[in-house]
């Protein structure tokens, strides 16, 4: 959480968005009010197979993590 032992405000959490395998956007995610959780809203206008590659990055020491999720919009 912000100001905690692991300060959420110094960790950059961003989703890189793809539609049908092509990059379509970058979505900065915000602290969601619950410890450790970050969220963002993506306005999807077209159907397709989507992928969100979410990374967390701490510029103060280079620490980085990634997860990916796919979903279909009809």
């Amino acid at each position: 959480m912000p100001g905690g032992m692991w300060d959420a405000s110094k960790i950059e959490v961003t989703a890189l968005l793809k539609r049908n395998g092509k990059r379509v956007g970058v979505l900065p995610m915000q602290y969601a009010g619950t410890p450790s959780q970050f969220t963002g809203t993506w306005d999807i206008k077209e159907a397709g197979l989507y992928e969100a590659i979410v990374y967390a990055y701490d510029a103060s020491n280079g620490n980085t993590g990634v997860d990916r999720a796919t979903f279909r919009v009809k």
Binding site: G40, T41, A47, A52, V54, A56
Partner: protein, 176 residues
């Protein structure tokens, strides 16, 4: 003269024993996560292998088990030379290897073993001499980088109906 010969003989026998007999040698491995604590049961541990770095021979393998360690000691107390940051609560993997001469040993850790998208691998080598245990202080400590990022929304594999629509992307981000 006879005494000298006996002493010489004993020395040869002793040296022979030192170089030919396998000597149990204990190695304790701890995996500390970057900017955080020790990797143990809470995250499924780290898979550790102990090999001969020159031949690739696998000498021991297992998981680190135990807790994350003492938070105050690891995260708040300034680090001082000779003062370990681990204590008995800090997760570790201990193995006894039988070696009969100094070996260049490679220790590799891969983890965490849960949330595998966060798993990284680190390794290091050092010489290990028969009977000279690597157990003092923090022992053989490796630092593992990474965050656990876990996308929790949308749930996989989701199919969302209708466009346009606002899709909420949420992730849980934790230190290892």
């Amino acid at each position: 003269m006879k005494t000298k010969n006996i002493l010489l003989g004993l020395c040869i026998v002793f040296l022979g024993a030192t170089f030919s007999g396998a000597v149990p040698t204990e190695i304790t491995v701890r995996v500390k996560t970057k900017d955080a604590k020790f990797l143990g049961n809470l995250m499924g541990g780290a898979a550790v292998s102990i090999k001969d770095a020159q031949t690739g021979e696998l000498l021991a393998k297992g998981l680190t088990t135990g807790g994350t360690g003492n938070t105050t000691r690891i995260m708040k107390t300034p680090v001082a030379r000779g003062v370990p940051i681990s204590d008995e609560s800090a997760a570790k993997f201990t193995a006894t290897i039988d070696i009969n001469e100094p070996r260049l040993i490679e220790v590799t850790a891969y983890g965490p073993m849960v949330n595998l998208q966060a798993a990284n691998k680190v390794s290091a080598t050092q010489w290990v001499v028969p009977g000279k245990h690597i157990t003092g202080g923090d022992a053989w400590m490796l630092e593992l980088p990474g965050f656990v990022v876990d996308v929790i929304a949308p749930p996989a594999p989701a199919t969302l109906k209708g466009v346009p629509q606002d899709v909420i992307i949420s992730a849980n981000v934790v230190m290892m």
